[in-house]
Subunit: 82 residues, 2 copies
Amino acid sequence: MFEAEVRVELKKGVADPEGKNTKKALDLLGFDKVTEVKTSKFFTITLDASSEAEAKAMMDDMCVKLLANPVIHIPLINIKEV
Amino acid sequence: MFEAEVRVELKKGVADPEGKNTKKALDLLGFDKVTEVKTSKFFTITLDASSEAEAKAMMDDMCVKLLANPVIHIPLINIKEV
């Protein structure tokens, strides 16, 4: 069994309103040393693959087909055996 | 300057409808080797703190006050100097 962690980050230059609003809220709460907030989506996927290479290939395919939008997202995949 | 990565995970037993629906969509796309999908929220926060200890204290405070709900979330904080 493999566990894949996928962080779906926004590409540079793509608007991140959730990050901007979190930054604003932190400012209002008095956290004035925060200079930037960026948000991303995180998936933890358990896979019944036979090898790490197979797991990686499946994860790449999932990112293309469902998890990430190639126009605005960069998926970062990290796989470990469990 | 420090960069803090905060992963706001759901506690065990808390419903994760987004994860469940992602699992369903992956099943429909033919990814039948996926056994579980969990989702979490990920923040990347840049801080103008003077030490790693100060950055850690600020992040703990932010998690309590804004980023995580202690009833359903577990925040995982990771800090590095940049």
